[in-house]
Symmetry: D2
Subunit: 427 residues, 4 copies
């Protein structure tokens, strides 16, 4: 993440406010959880909630306190390894797949760790004169963005943990989505040409959103809303999972190896399809966007529908003039919602609801430069074999979302709130 000096006009009081708010928001997410809930790792991709709480704290201790405080005495030296996620240049890491084997430090101990580090960071921020805008302030802001990423991960990960339990326990009761029947999907048309993509200098952004650069984009059309559960059911009912011609070879192999025949969290019972949500098991809502899909499934549906997935450039062009509104974590629905009823002039659901798979492999922009030092590991080293998703989800904080924001996952992963919209060449 690069933050220009100009943006730091708000620091440090404003940074302190953002910091405190983000840290409090993380804790609030844990309210409904027992210590046991916070201890479990249901697969290697998932981290225990308690680990998230500690790791985000480790981030501030390692990247803010240690470099800024002379003779810094670490809270606990062993935490440097225990809560290092993937920063090879920082040192050893407790193996990712074994995060769920740690019963200590307990939740109570981790909360103390958080409180102490929070205190130290705020103290550091307080010492900052209004005219003093050091580079490390940007790291605090990066830490806030990082905290927000883990807020979303806490929700996606605990959803996976709870879904492993045959009792299907709810995380918490959620706000109801409006019961509407959206209009059929329409298409928005875009002209060909050379366009600018990526975040301009200045303003908050991760390094992977930069530099802003030119691309040539052919004319195309983009769906004006997300694909729904009802539409995806039609694909299933048309033997979508049984027709090899619809699938990428890797996807065809995956659905057979793992026996996939529906999105993750769909459960078929005698009385029809249900979906596990953070509010428990509920009958499938036909008008809600389909969610928890792999890239393979999104791609196969698109082929079945005679369309394709958009590129990340097409998606970014389409949202250029859109305001960032949508169903974010603040709505407390914790689940994607149907598109508004009635006719649409603009695209709906661009932001929030679900991360939208694009057909773009996650790659560096021309001229990409990772952050200096260990923080250079933040994004760049993952630019291989993953696909870009755009737009944020119902588990993303509103303030975390940007039009140029690039999320990325492997094509087989589907425990994120991932869905998609269609695109096609202009006819």
């Amino acid at each position: 993440m690069v933050i220009s000096t100009r943006d730091l006009a708000l620091a440090g009081a404003d940074v302190a406010r953002d910091f405190a708010a983000a840290r409090a928001a993380t804790l609030a997410l844990c309210d409904p959880l027992s210590p046991e809930d916070c201890a479990i790792q249901s697969m290697p991709d998932v981290s225990p909630t308690r680990w998230h709480l500690a790791h985000t704290t480790w981030f501030f201790e390692t990247f803010v306190l240690e470099p800024q405080i002379a003779d810094y005495v670490p809270f606990k030296p062993a935490y440097r390894t225990l809560f290092n996620s993937y920063y090879e240049t920082v040192g050893e890491q407790h193996p990712r797949a074994q995060r769920g084997l740690l019963s200590r430090p307990t939740l109570a101990e981790v909360l103390v760790y958080r409180a102490v580090i929070d205190q130290r960071v705020l103290e550091l921020l307080r010492r900052l004169a209004p005219t003093d805008r050091p580079a490390w302030l940007r790291v605090v802001q990066l830490g806030v963005q990082h905290e927000q990423q883990h807020q979303e991960l806490i929700l996606t990960d605990i959803k996976h943990v709870l879904a492993c339990n045959p009792l299907y326990p709810a995380y918490r009761q959620a706000a109801a989505a409006p019961a509407v029947a959206p209009a059929p999907q329409g298409w928005l048309a875009f002209e060909p040409g050379v366009r600018w993509i990526g975040r301009e200098a200045g303003g908050i952004a991760f390094d992977n959103e930069r530099p802003r650069h030119r691309v040539y984009v052919d004319s195309f059309e983009l769906a004006d809303r997300l694909v729904t559960n009802a539409e995806y059911l039609a694909f299933i009912d048309d033997n979508g999972y049984g027709r090899s011609d619809l699938w990428l070879a890797d996807g065809w192999a995956k659905i057979h190896a793992d026996g996939w025949a529906a999105p993750l969290y769909w459960v078929h019972r005698e009385d029809g399809w249900h979906e596990f949500t953070l509010a428990g098991l509920r009958p499938l809502e036909p008008n809600a966007p389909v969610c928890h899909l792999s890239y393979y499934e999104a791609d196969a549906f698109a082929r079945w529908a005679g369309a394709r997935l958009p590129t990340e450039q097409e998606w970014e062009i389409a949202v250029e003039d859109e305001s960032i509104e949508g169903n974010f974590v603040e709505s407390e629905r914790l689940h994607p919602s149907p598109a508004p009823a009635g006719p649409r002039e603009n695209a709906a659901q661009l932001f929030g609801d679900v991360w939208e798979w694009t057909s773009s492999a996650y790659a560096p922009y021309p001229g990409f430069r990772p952050l200096a030092g260990s923080l250079g590991e933040y994004n760049g080293k993952f630019m291989c074999s993953q696909y870009v998703l755009r737009g944020g989800s119902c588990a993303t904080p509103r303030s975390h979302v940007r039009p140029t924001y690039r999320n990325f996952f492997y094509p087989h992963q589907r425990w994120q709130f991932s869905g998609f919209r269609l695109a096609r060449a202009r006819g």
Copy 2:
């Protein structure tokens, strides 16, 4: 387990007393543990403490309450599957390797489950007239034995969980063992002949200890104490793990596949060998019995020492006239202790300290009959590819140990408190 009618003279008040004591003892073992400690499964062989608490309760609900109470209303129907260990004839089981994925029911909820079922069992026992000695009383007693087995497993399993943590947290401080230097190992000699083996009719026993039967046993000699850490270190220092001629082929493959070069829980540091114990990481005690060994390692050491492991029959013959004294869980040392100093006339450490590997494959005794019904799955179906261990350990309750008791594990398993003593042909 078969309990004769004669033994039930003590029932039902005495059974109620045993039941209440066993159930309380289990809870006491959990005192030092946090909810997180109780949630974690560090490998498929290990079960979370919380699962042990629930499963032992399930045992009484399934095998005592359900058959005895007309129109029995289960505490929670889903528990029948969740906490079924391996009883195929009872129904489905939550997969063993996924016991650690369950965060619900929480520890608090499981404790309620225990309390309710305890109440119901005691009520049932109270209804029993003094002259009334029904067959199901034997099942309650079997449940008490079963409870004791899981008490030991709670300790062995939590030791494995804590050992996975680089912080090496202690389970609790333990009573110190006497600091003694035992005399060198001597040999006790036994005559050849036809001998009786196994538990006679009457008295508490598992089905696998019966029927009592004759075997012919050649003359042999048995070591008068357990092999010590110091002796095992000499084996290591003599390149014991590097000499193929000392090892069974399966063992040689295993130590290379898993990189074994010392017993489980041994940790080499700059200042020498340490051992993880339930009281934390401690310098290796040279005079204590070596512990947490596989069958392969015990067998290789014996070959290196020019000896062999005893058969289970030899071991049983040797203990025939010995009183059941030793370092059991009641000593609160939670770790094997050195043999007493001074000269020995009888064998030391036969009971307690460590389960002793024998060279006997776990097999049915001639004429073996498993218990009727689902409880027939208790022991018989495991009589394949496992080896018999004898004598109980420092984690076994004193009242659980019998001269005829047959414990059994696969030859590669070493997370139990397993050690060994030597035997040899009479020269």
Copy 3:
């Protein structure tokens, strides 16, 4: 294998004759095979035919020529590793699971290797004066026994290779078995008592058959013929593979993990059950002994039948006075045959047809001593987690079979010609 000095009265001309005959018999087995057939390893347990041809030659080069010829120049130094099966004390081994990756030396080159080593061994034998009976002659005889073991393995392994091919090619046409309907199975009764087991001193035997020793055996009854395909089909039709109470826990796990529902090589087609044989796919012969079963399956059938498997001691006692007659490789049937029709006074099919699973874990006899040096690895190091089979099969050379002969395999293995007969306590 231990051969007494007395037996060497026949040496060396007789040994040379045995050697030449065994070596020729091996080559004859390869007549029907193409170079491709001889190259393939269909699973780690299986070795390519070409590897068998080379390894048996390596045996004579390594254990006879190298020690006996001063300044011996190896045929090819690289073969010492390439064709070492499992002799750690000889040196490195080409990994077992990668024997099928070697295309060189070609079959033609291996045949040259055989011819050259044969010549050298015979030359060595010729040099032997009639009165000169050195210890190494015993090693040549061990090599002949070893050669015979690999003759059987060539057949069992090529059967597995060909069975992997959807074309089901035949190894060669086989002599037809007599079409008879054997009488129902009867029982032979044996008295209890202390009995002698194992091979007496003198005479050819492997080290694992010794020392001869006493055991106490209770009274028992032994089936007077092998279990047939028809009887095993009744077990299948009675849902034998679906009833957990019939199975050892390991077996129940295995049949589910690998989807077993019938013996290996059974193929169900529209017109009923077929069996892949060395003569190709043929309709299942109901009266032939069931074959290619795991220990788990034999054990489950026995439980279903209200019986059990015999111990190896019981089996040995039963054959004590029987002559070694049966359906061996010399019959050229290459498949087990129905028991003779008509009433039986003695047990049928004790030798030949199929190796009979016993309930005895493979363990050293009391006082067991492996051969000295590298040949000590021949048998002893495998005495763990395997079960003893007795009696030889339709793929075993007649002269290789002895009443005390102990074959051994893991309980899940079934690519050998393995079947079983029932036993039970005397009623």
Copy 4:
């Protein structure tokens, strides 16, 4: 592959000539191989030579003969499954990883299969009037391209098979490369702008090279030769495999999981680095291009060198005006050669020597349309998680190479003749 009607002016005699030449060239490649060589599959990616011989024949039988000949009688119905590579819409496939388990049909039988199908195809081509240019002629031409792809695979696969053999046998002696010391690497500069990429309509091309379309490409510089062994050794000697900051996260995980510390086929001996080649093990030639690298390794080297890999568009722009000359299979060197000595005005080694990794994920061009029917599976379904390689190798037939040709492999694969050249932003 799409061939325009115009190109078919040459048909059918010319197609027959191409067909016959390609089929003969395949057979010629097998001359040095024994039946055993042709039988072995050394890893799932590798196919036995014999399988290649049969599969390319299957291609003509399935896609040319069956559709064109009424009541076509297949050579052997079972071959439809046995030799189907990955065409789901054609039907079942013998599992890829089990191609090496088939010993039948033998090499001799496969050669008969080839001869018969060749005859039938040529007969079909002969029946074609000079003015008659049917669509299926294009399929024959696709089959010729397909045959050429498998010619290269025969070489890359047999290299892997032979390299698994500790004897390091040579495929055949190879023509020597000129012993030259190329000039240091220089840079060629390219201007930014909108450029056309992909194969224009008409002319031979695979579907994945089309449609021709515009892209915007920034200014860049491209290395004027390939990276050499000497340069790659400098990377190794500078601890290149030990510095996490140089590696993609997936690559870092892979080199640790598989213990990679040098390119595939590099062997370190006492007298220095050697390389296994199709002519056997040879001392590493410092001036030859480095070969048999994964994408991860090429990418890490580029980062270490302060450069990056080119995109496939940059590479294509650079070769636009270059003639297709280089070290192809026809040179009979079967190994990449040093770049010519002396100063360079143009880039060297663009074609032949090694396939060059680009940084471009393999994706459909805008407006991509796969071929109709089963042949639509030829390329499109693999457009996921693979990277594009360009330019052909020393194992590629000269006539198979095109400037727009897109080869593709997974980033971890390195058994192909894969190397790379550097690129960088224009300074």
